[in-house]
């Protein structure tokens, strides 16, 4: 580790972590890839960013990052949210890597709460920031107990919870962090992505890595692995999105953010994935240069 003021990357090793720490994280990553969906404890370090703000994802990214990588960081699907900006800035400062907002250009995408709309490829790695890696924690807070449950694949508690939801409300009330079974063996938290994104994890060509810094766990879904959202035969899993289309690009299939436009119930919907939205707007502008982007329509509440 170099601390000399004159050395590159602000006096720190490439990508901040020292090489021994990176090696320790890579060992945990290899184990995680070998046992898809299984949570591997690792000696998470204290980072110069707060716990809960992406320290797990940052450590995973730092451990796999090379000088030729192109990094994209999103939070809520957007590249320009403050925490995403802060993390991208961190890596440009301590690793000097090229950043991008284009999903297709990135080799590593670090994300909080979303999976990009543009399908990922084998050449890409998706790194998730994970606040609570344990999918069972609301049902059983004791880690010693949940470890036993995973060992025995004893997931009845979660099925009962979903069943009770359906019996009480007619629907599963879990809207995000919707639990998945990985490779038919381990119950896994997909991190707090909306349930809408869950199907994208299934047989994804890209490697998916999950880092939870505060909880000191790493887990992974290797490329083309089966990832099933929990459901019942008579109540199949259904991803939901707001019933509307993006006011900027007109997409009717992307995940939408609801934006309040006034205090009288006015609102509009826009794509949560900003890169996807911008690329569609650009494509529309090239296809029909005369027409301008449709003016945002606001709708009132009935």
């Amino acid at each position: 580790m170099s601390h000399e003021p004159g050395s590159p990357f602000g006096g720190y090793n490439f990508a901040y972590l020292d090489e021994n720490t990176k090696r320790m994280i890579r060992r945990a990553l290899l184990k995680a890839v070998a046992i898809p969906g299984h949570q591997v404890p690792f000696g998470a370090r204290e980072m110069p960013l707060p716990y809960g703000w992406g320290t797990g994802g940052i450590q995973v990214t730092a451990a796999i990052l090379g000088p030729r990588d192109v990094l994209k960081v999103i939070d809520q699907g957007a590249d320009d949210t403050t925490n995403a900006v802060s993390i991208r800035r961190f890596f440009s400062r301590v690793a000097g890597v090229r950043g991008t907002t284009r999903t297709a250009e990135a080799t590593i995408i670090q994300t909080r709460h979303r999976i990009p709309e543009t399908p990922l490829t084998e050449a890409q790695t998706l790194v998730y920031q994970v606040p609570m890696p344990e999918p069972l924690f609301r049902l059983e807070p004791r880690l010693a107990e949940t470890r036993r449950m995973h060992a025995l694949a004893d997931y009845g508690l979660m099925h009962v919870k979903l069943y009770e939801d359906i019996a009480r409300h007619g629907h599963v009330s879990t809207a995000y962090s919707y639990p998945v079974m990985v490779g038919g063996r381990y119950l896994m938290s997909p991190s707090p992505i909306p349930a809408f994104d869950n199907p994208k994890m299934h047989r994804m060509p890209a490697l998916q890595l999950f880092g939870a810094g505060r909880e000191k766990k790493i887990y992974a879904v290797p490329p083309y692995t089966e990832v099933r959202s929990l459901d019942f035969e008579d109540h199949p899993f259904r991803p939901h999105r707001a019933d509307g289309c993006c006011a900027l690009c007109g997409s009717t299939t992307s995940y939408l953010d609801e934006v309040l436009t006034d205090d009288r119930g006015g609102r509009m919907f826009v794509c949560s994935d900003t890169d996807y939205c911008e690329e569609r707007q650009e494509a529309a502008a090239t296809a029909a240069p005369a027409s301008t982007t449709p003016a945002p329509e606001t709708e009132g509440v009935a």
Partner: protein, 372 residues
């Protein structure tokens, strides 16, 4: 209001940090606090940051306090983030706290004992009246405090005196390299070393509340302060390539050993048990609270029923760290609108289902009214 995609997060962050720096400095017509002043005159704050920042360096702790505008948790975080970049070159031998150069030492179990009672520089027995004279600028420094003439005699641990009589359980000496929380994640059940390490870095307020709860019936402990001692101890290291120990320096610590009742079990006769607390610097409140919590956490090992939060190892150890806690609590201010949107959709869908069900009940009733 038209929708404006929020852009320029980077500029906003830059501007916010410039404003923060201006706020931190405060009124520029007043002289800036020097790190040396903080180190010398805010000593207890420095000690708390060293303890919770898990790094014994008064100068860096003082710098962190200055940078954090006196927010001690933020300062502890700064110190931790620095500490984690330092290479680890070994582990010290256990501190010989029995050979401490004592500044303060009190026992609540004996009126007098070898080594005596030494009050030291304490707020105990001060009357908490604001001293308006301190508000005056340029007052001369206080006269030096009177010093004891006789050199201090050896002060053995109270718990050691009890143990020699067989009244205090002796603890098995741990062999080999102790756990290191900064390298390996906590696993449960945790070793005593990992537990004490966690508590020593833990938040003073959290431990204080938990310790207090054990005194109010949440986990029965009947504690006596066997002894509190505060002073400097020598740190020794045994490099494997040398094979003998070398002194590498001296640190200030506060140690508290609580003596607790234990009624005995089938295997063991009634005797006292100990709760142990140690904090870097002068952290008496922290060391006492830690000792209470340490003893409460032994409930399982001693065959006592575990009923209270302070006796629950996972609960205590996973929530004691204020750097972890503050990060996760404060992350709630990060955007969550994707998750909130998915919740909105679910609540709307469930309301639609519920309203449809209500209508289905109400409509046949209306038909009946018409029929009548």
């Amino acid at each position: 209001m038209a929708y404006v995609a929020v852009k320029g997060g980077e500029r906003a962050i830059g501007n916010a940090h410039a404003w923060l720096e201006e706020t931190r400095r405060g009124d520029p017509s007043l002289p800036a606090l020097s790190v040396a002043q903080i180190e010398a005159q805010m000593g207890l704050a420095v000690d708390r940051v060293m303890a919770e920042g898990a790094c014994h360096d008064r100068g860096l702790a003082a710098l962190a306090i200055k940078q954090a505008q006196g927010d001690l948790i933020e300062a502890a975080f700064l110190l931790r983030a620095y500490r984690t970049t330092l290479p680890r070159f070994g582990h010290a031998l256990p501190l010989e706290t029995g050979a401490m150069r004592i500044r303060r030492r009190v026992s609540a179990t004996y009126k007098d004992l070898p080594g005596g009672q030494v009050l030291g520089p304490t707020y105990d027995y001060t009357h908490r009246l604001l001293d308006f004279a301190l508000a005056a600028e340029g007052a001369p420094p206080p006269p030096p405090a009177p010093q004891a003439e006789a050199p201090q005699e050896h002060a053995p641990h109270v718990t050691e005196l009890l143990a020699r009589e067989g009244l205090m359980a002796r603890e098995a000496e741990a062999r080999g390299e102790p756990a290191d929380l900064t390298r390996a994640p906590l696993a449960f059940p945790a070793s005593r070393a990992a537990r004490l390490q966690n508590l020593a870095r833990g938040d003073e307020g959290f431990l204080l509340g938990l310790g207090y709860s054990t005194q109010r019936g949440y986990g029965n402990s009947h504690p006596f302060v066997g002894e509190i001692r505060q002073g400097s101890v020598t740190v020794c290291l045994m490099p494997p390539e040398l094979g003998f120990e070398i002194e590498i320096g001296e640190i200030d610590v506060t140690e508290c050993q609580m003596v607790n009742q234990f009624h005995g079990s089938k295997a063991e006769p009634p005797q006292f048990t100990r709760g142990y607390g140690l904090a870097l610097g002068r952290g008496e409140r922290k060391a006492m609270a830690m000792a209470l919590v340490d003893r409460a956490l032994m409930a399982g090992d001693l065959g006592e029923e575990r009923t209270a939060p302070a006796q629950d190892e996972e609960f205590v150890l996973l929530h004691s760290d204020n750097v972890e806690a503050t990060g996760f609590v404060e992350h709630l201010k990060l955007p969550h609108y994707v998750d909130f949107q998915s919740e909105l959709e679910v609540v709307r869908r469930m309301r639609a289902t519920a309203e449809a069900a209500l209508r289905a009940i109400a409509e046949p009733a209306r038909e009946e009214e018409v029929a009548e």
